[in-house]
């Protein structure tokens, strides 16, 4: 009964999406207010029905109703409640349902909070959202219906993939989808602007908060996924340049570029055509990511069941939306008027440079990800493009981007003073040089590039700090006034500083982890001691334990340093009988930002156990960086300017356009 209700709600949501995608368009064409307002109610009702459908599937999973194929294949009655809930999106059908639910959520938010949008713009935006939604509802209903029944219900389910039975599954996919799908809003706004043939600074001010929300979630989602892979896969890697990871990195790079070009558009009414193109590309890359992950052309943790029909269907959606929107762009972009002029050395110029490097870096990731697929189709050769390729292409492109980053916020709009900016960055430059010199002396004869890379990261962080210091006049005026000025700074300025510093912090973590990682791999017997990076790890013994749906072998290590006992670490291996598979649960010991990482291998006949121990210096900075970036995004989002929304376009266009 619940399954049928969920299925029915999904069909109704499809019907509503179809109405939403046509009626408001006609209303906008005929200038009919009532028809345009249909968009609002259908978007909200669609959210309601998509939510009902998702709730139905969740209830089926929680109650372990094995007469539903989806529940039977991905659940087990003994599974803890948390994993019964998260297991809803731990499979293909359920995760697509989550995808459309989030799409409906964003549509609903625009409908609910878009009261200050011009009526026709809102109608167009929601209509485009309706097209996307309709395509994906159809996809779910035709190829991946999660509500199918089994004729003779089995007693027990096949259980969820053990690797996914982790708290990470509760956080990572919803976050990532909020990011991926959130970019649909800027896409819809871009397509709506192309249809209307009109775009202005007010448009950018409406689009920015949505882009920012999507970007914040995508940043956190990627970071979370990386940390999850780090502790769950058992060998301490946090980024594999796996095609599926690249699929999430590409929209992030394009989205970051979009975020910056939208600033130029909002402030200076320039780069309009480019911003529209970026909005389209960002969401296109999100769709491409969905295709890569869901079609089964790739084998990875994320590729659930593979079914050619699904791949073809998503490919069709992909071609329809990317092709259609680019065609519309080619046809209509010339009607958009060009905006403000600026010198190459100016804030605008710096943001263009940022866009140039980010999109080029995105293109190299795109090539590295899709080239093997293309080559296999063309010549049949199977190749893999791994980390070395990306280190050689992506890395060098990020160096100039990071070196230029502190200069950007220091330059004035229209015409900047590079020398002045360089003078104000002297302190940051000196700090970076000192760090490089100290590291070089300290690790003499060791890695050459690592101190330079850390110097660059320090320059980025110090540059962000000195930008703030310059703005509030720290050390030049009395402290109390400086504090008052700091309070008065726009939140967006603080946001920029935090986000930029976050990049630097993450880079420090990445360089330290890859350069000074120490590891011990060997087989140990009880009472053996392993020495790693000044720590002594003594294997106390191995015990067995029965978990709810697995058997576990736990090893106990006593960790000490300089004769002083620190803590007990208990890595384990779990055997899941239903799936006949096992997982490695690594044990982590956090000391400051560094971590000690222990994971287990197999036991041999003499009772020795294979052990992998890593010491990863400053590894946590890799994830603190993105958290700082997301926090910066949040600060920007809370900026008063974005909260009050955009002024009415006609007046705004004049008000925001300074005299040339």
């Amino acid at each position: 009964m619940i399954a049928e209700a969920g299925h029915y709600a999904l069909v109704l949501a499809l019907a509503l999406a179809l109405i939403q995608s046509t009626v408001p368009m006609l209303g906008a064409r005929w200038g009919d207010q009532a028809l345009m307002n249909v968009a609002r109610s259908t978007a909200l009702a669609q959210l309601l029905f998509a939510g009902a459908s998702f709730t139905a599937l969740t209830m089926l999973h929680v109650t372990s109703d094995f007469s539903v194929v989806n529940v039977f294949e991905n659940s087990h009655s003994m599974k803890p409640l948390l994993y019964k809930i998260t297991g809803v999106w731990g499979n293909h059908e359920g995760s697509m349902l989550l995808w459309v639910l989030i799409l409906a959520l964003f549509g609903g938010l625009v409908a609910a909070f878009g009261n200050n949008l011009p009526l026709s713009l809102r109608a167009h935006v929601l209509a485009v959202q309706g097209w996307i939604a309709a395509a994906f509802y159809l996809f779910i209903l035709v190829t991946s219906n999660p509500f199918l029944r089994i004729a003779s219900p089995p007693i027990e389910g096949r259980d969820l993939n053990p690797v996914l039975q982790d708290i990470g599954l509760a956080v990572h996919p919803p976050m990532l989808y909020l990011g991926y799908v959130g970019f649909s809003i800027s896409f819809s706004f871009a397509v709506a602007a192309l249809i209307e043939g009109r775009i202005d600074a007010a448009w950018a001010r409406w689009v920015r908060p949505w882009t920012l929300v999507a970007w914040i979630f995508l940043t956190l989602g990627i970071a979370m996924g990386s940390y999850w892979a780090y502790y769950e896969l058992g060998w301490g890697g946090w980024w594999f340049w796996d095609p599926v990871e690249n699929a999430s990195l590409m929209p992030w790079l394009a989205g970051t570029a979009l975020l910056h070009s939208a600033v130029v558009m909002e402030k200076r009414n320039a780069l309009k055509v480019w911003t529209i193109l970026l909005s389209i590309l960002t969401f296109s890359l999100s769709l491409l990511g969905t295709f890569l992950v869901r079609s089964g052309v790739l084998t990875s943790v994320h590729a659930f069941a593979t079914d050619p029909a699904r791949g073809v269907f998503i490919l069709l959606i992909l071609c329809l939306f990317i092709g259609g929107s680019l065609l519309l762009y080619a046809w209509r972009a010339s009607t958009l008027k060009q905006g403000g002029l600026f010198a190459p050395i100016s804030r605008e110029g710096a943001l263009v440079l940022n866009n140039l490097f980010l999109t080029t870096a995105c293109a190299t990731v795109f090539i590295g990800t899709l080239y093997p697929l293309a080559l296999e189709v063309v010549t049949g050769d199977k190749i893999s493009v791994g980390a070395p390729f990306f280190n050689l292409t992506f890395g060098p492109l990020f160096v100039p981007l990071l070196a230029a980053m502190p200069f950007g916020p220091m330059l004035a709009w229209k015409r900047g003073d590079l020398l002045g900016a360089a003078q104000r960055l002297t302190a940051a430059g000196i700090a970076a040089l000192i760090v490089i010199a100290v590291l070089w002396a300290w690790t003499f004869g060791g890695a050459t590039f690592a101190p330079l890379a850390i110097g660059l990261a320090v320059f980025v962080v110090a540059g962000a700090v000195s930008d703030l210091a310059e703005r509030v006049g720290l050390f030049r005026i009395p402290l109390t006034i400086a504090v008052a000025r700091a309070r008065g700074l726009p939140r967006a300025t603080w946001g920029t500083a935090f986000a930029h510093a976050g990049i630097g912090i993450a880079l420090i973590g990445i360089v330290c982890e890859t350069t000074w990682n120490t590891e011990y791999i060997g087989s140990m017997k009880p009472d053996h001691v392993a020495k790693v990076a000044g720590y002594q790890l003594k294997l106390d013994g191995v015990t067995q334990r029965q978990g709810p749906n697995f058997r576990e072998m736990i090893a106990q290590f006593t960790v000490s340093r300089d004769g002083e006992t620190l803590e007990v670490m208990t890595p384990s291996k779990r055997d899941f009988t239903t799936r006949g598979s096992s997982t490695t649960e690594a044990a982590l010991l956090t000391r400051g930002a560094s971590q000690l990482y222990v994971s287990l291998g197999e036991t041999n006949a003499e009772g020795a156990i294979a052990v992998r121990i890593y010491h990863k210096p400053l590894v946590l900075l890799i994830w603190w960086g993105p958290v700082l970036m997301a926090f910066g995004g949040l600060l920007s989002l809370s900026d008063r300017r974005l909260r009050v929304g955009a002024p009415k376009p006609a007046k705004a266009a004049r008000a925001l356009q300074p005299a040339e």
Partner: protein, 163 residues
């Protein structure tokens, strides 16, 4: 600067960055791409010692020998040829004899494949896609390796590496 000059500066700058990126990509393509090969294909292609490639096939039953200090020897077979592999480190959880495996590394002077990465997957019905395709092509595909459509589980790659 006039509007035209500004535009030219921007376009010139963009082209320069794109050219650099293209050069980087082409350079990386030449050096850091790894081919996939089965033992038969490896014999045909005559990889020189030291050139990295990915070797895929089935772990030959009875060939697994564990040595001291996590050293492992096994053979990878594809039905018509076998290739001996050595590896030092922890094998993935579901590395089993008779099952599919992908190893990355290079041949040494004596024709033994020295692997530094061994990949296997977390599922009892799992067969790496590359291996399955290659076996199908050579006519050694057995149906029992095939995943039942719709019943395949999400399966995670597990890697064992030794750097």
């Amino acid at each position: 600067m006039t509007r035209k000059q500004r535009r030219l500066t921007m376009i010139g700058g963009s082209l320069a960055v794109l050219a650099i990126a293209a050069a980087l990509v082409l350079n990386a393509m030449r050096d850091s791409i790894v081919f996939f090969s089965t033992p038969t294909m490896a014999a045909e292609k005559q990889f020189p010692p030291g050139q990295r490639f990915r070797l895929g096939g089935l772990v030959q039953p009875g060939s697994l020998v564990r040595g001291d200090n996590l050293a492992v020897n096994f053979s990878v077979a594809d039905g018509s040829a076998t290739l001996p592999v050595t590896y030092k480190g922890i094998l993935p959880d579901l590395f089993r004899e008779g099952q599919g495996v992908v190893a990355e590394g290079a041949l040494d002077a004596s024709g033994v494949f020295k692997a530094d990465t061994v990949l296997a997957k977390h599922d009892e019905t799992y067969m790496p896609k590359d291996v399955a395709d290659a076996l199908k092509k050579q006519g050694h595909w057995k149906d029992d390796y095939g995943a039942k459509p719709g019943a395949t589980a999400a399966s995670a790659p597990v890697q064992g590496t030794s750097k």
